[in-house]
């Protein structure tokens, strides 16, 4: 059992203490609760959990304790504030190192930088807590055993690694924003966490347009959150959202992080979000500007998602008849096969062109692919509008 624990912790002292703890707990509990069916496994699990707990706590505590120290004594000359900032930044870059699996980077950032518990992270990603614990443990072990440096990368690596960190933050935000599967109840607010981390990063790396860009983008998108679904949880399109529900303070804050002439991918996406957010009514939206920002974005990040959004913007600026061939071309390329928003967009443009039967067929295809209940409800409603038929069973 001790060997198992040592193999697990790679730390003799910690392993021994945790095994001892497990025996003590057994002595307390077994007389009342009875001896478990497999006492050996119970002890090993208990000791392992204890070890996991201790290891996790020690990694966050260093940062938390120092943070608390700064807040308590802001003027204390003993506390080197820039050293604390450096520690934090080092931690962020280490957690987001590209040699770690993407999902491990996300989990580790939430655990060690944001200070969420393993259980909270597991719930946020709808993963069993034990799986998440393993993922975190493996990531930390890789950092140690593979020699991933604990530092802010040197200048020649900094741009690439920074964009990696921003990628993790934005993925985190999107996970929260889309609540990608199941219902969003009881899940920790990943959007708020991502924004909080974005603020920290923007403070630690002042003057970096893309860092400010990702923060701007998150703030500007999250500002619309209250209007995104109705009371029944049904998704409300941007066009039909009640814009009085948008958080104007947050929009102003987000716009404040925009560069004069946006250039990087996050600045461009934030500028697009700002175009939407600044339109008092849907018909006030500056679609030609959005289409041109997407054209710029497509040269930097030529992904099929950007192409799809560009097509939508063109359809809004120049009419559905101009946009539809662009969407159909993406469909033919097969680059977005299985992505529900592709047929949903085709359906929308067909509806606007008055081709109700074609639109209904496309909505059906989107319905079959939609990952969330809110989106399925919305699409079901559209199918009914187009056909007047009884809704398909859910």
């Amino acid at each position: 059992m001790l060997a198992t624990l040592i193999g697990f912790t790679r730390d003799w002292d910690l392993a021994e203490e945790c095994v001892q703890d497990a025996f003590e707990r057994a002595l307390q509990r077994w007389p009342d609760e009875g001896i478990p069916r497999n006492p050996g496994a119970w002890l090993t699990t208990t000791a392992r959990n204890r070890a996991l707990d201790r290891m996790r706590r020690s990694s966050v505590e260093v940062v938390k304790v120092r943070e608390a120290a700064t807040m308590a004594q802001p003027g204390d000359p003993e506390v080197d504030e820039s050293a604390i900032a450096d520690d934090r930044l080092r931690l962020i870059f280490t957690c987001c190192h590209p040699a770690l699996a993407l999902e491990a980077r996300v989990a580790l950032t939430l655990r060690t930088v944001a200070g969420l518990t393993t259980e909270e992270i597991a719930r946020a990603f709808l993963t069993p807590s034990s799986t998440m614990g393993q993922r975190l443990f493996r990531a930390k072990r890789k950092i140690r055993d593979a020699g991933i440096p604990y530092r802010v990368p040197p200048a020649e690596l900094l741009p690439e690694r920074t964009s990696g960190v921003l990628g993790v933050l934005y993925l985190l935000f999107n996970e929260g924003y889309a609540a990608s599967s199941g219902d969003g109840l009881l899940r920790p607010d990943l959007c708020a966490e991502a924004i909080r981390l974005g603020r920290i990063l923007a403070e630690l790396m002042p003057g970096q347009d893309e860092v400010r860009g990702v923060l701007a983008l998150m703030l500007l998108q999250d500002a619309r959150r209250a209007a995104r679904t109705d009371e029944g949880g049904v998704l409300v399109t941007l066009e039909q959202q009640d814009r009085t529900l948008w958080d104007q303070d947050q929009i102003a804050e987000g716009a404040g992080f925009l560069a004069q002439a946006p250039h990087g991918p996050y600045q461009l996406q934030a500028a697009i979000a700002a175009c939407h957010d600044s339109a008092a009514q849907a018909w006030d939206t500056d679609w030609p500007r959005i289409a041109s920002l997407y054209t710029q974005l497509a040269t930097l990040t030529p992904t099929p998602f950007v192409a799809l959004n560009h097509a939508v913007a063109v359809a809004m600026a120049d009419g559905p008849a101009v946009g539809l061939p662009l969407v159909d071309a993406i469909d033919v390329s097969g680059a977005l096969a299985g992505y529900h928003l592709l047929p949903a967009t085709q359906a929308d443009l067909l509806r606007r062109l008055g081709r109700r039967a074609d639109a209904a067929a496309a909505y059906e295809r989107a319905f079959a692919l939609a990952p969330t209940e809110a989106e399925r409800l919305f699409l079901r409603r559209r199918i009914v509008e187009m056909t007047g038929a009884a809704p398909p069973p859910i």
Partner: protein, 108 residues
């Protein structure tokens, strides 16, 4: 930290000899003191696999794993950390047509 750099590529990949020549890389990394030793290996057609199962020695011709990419060479690196090892690996000519794997030594 010590790393084993495994140089793998498909054996039938066609590369111009000057593009596959690791000599400049070897010279640079030796000069920087990051490469302890290394060697190119004969193709898997002359490799031998050894296993002991239930006390019985099993010897067979060829590689254990039937994969397209085979180990064609190795280097032992001594680098400050993974970032340095990645930098060294990325400069190896085989990085452009094969795959390089970095395995840290198991040091207790």
């Amino acid at each position: 930290m010590k790393y084993l750099l495994l140089v793998t590529s498909a054996e039938d990949v066609v590369v111009a000899p000057e593009d596959a020549d690791p000599t400049p890389w070897v010279m640079e990394m030796d000069r920087r003191g990051l490469r302890e030793q290394g060697h190119r290996l004969r193709p898997v057609s002359v490799s031998t696999t050894v296993q002991v199962r239930n006390g019985e020695l099993l010897i067979s011709d060829g590689p254990f794993a039937e994969t397209k990419e085979q180990i064609g060479g190795f280097d032992i690196l001594d680098c400050a950390d993974l970032d340095e090892a990645i930098e060294v690996a990325s400069k190896h000519p085989a990085a452009r047509f094969g795959t390089l794997e970095l395995r840290p030594f198991w040091d207790e």
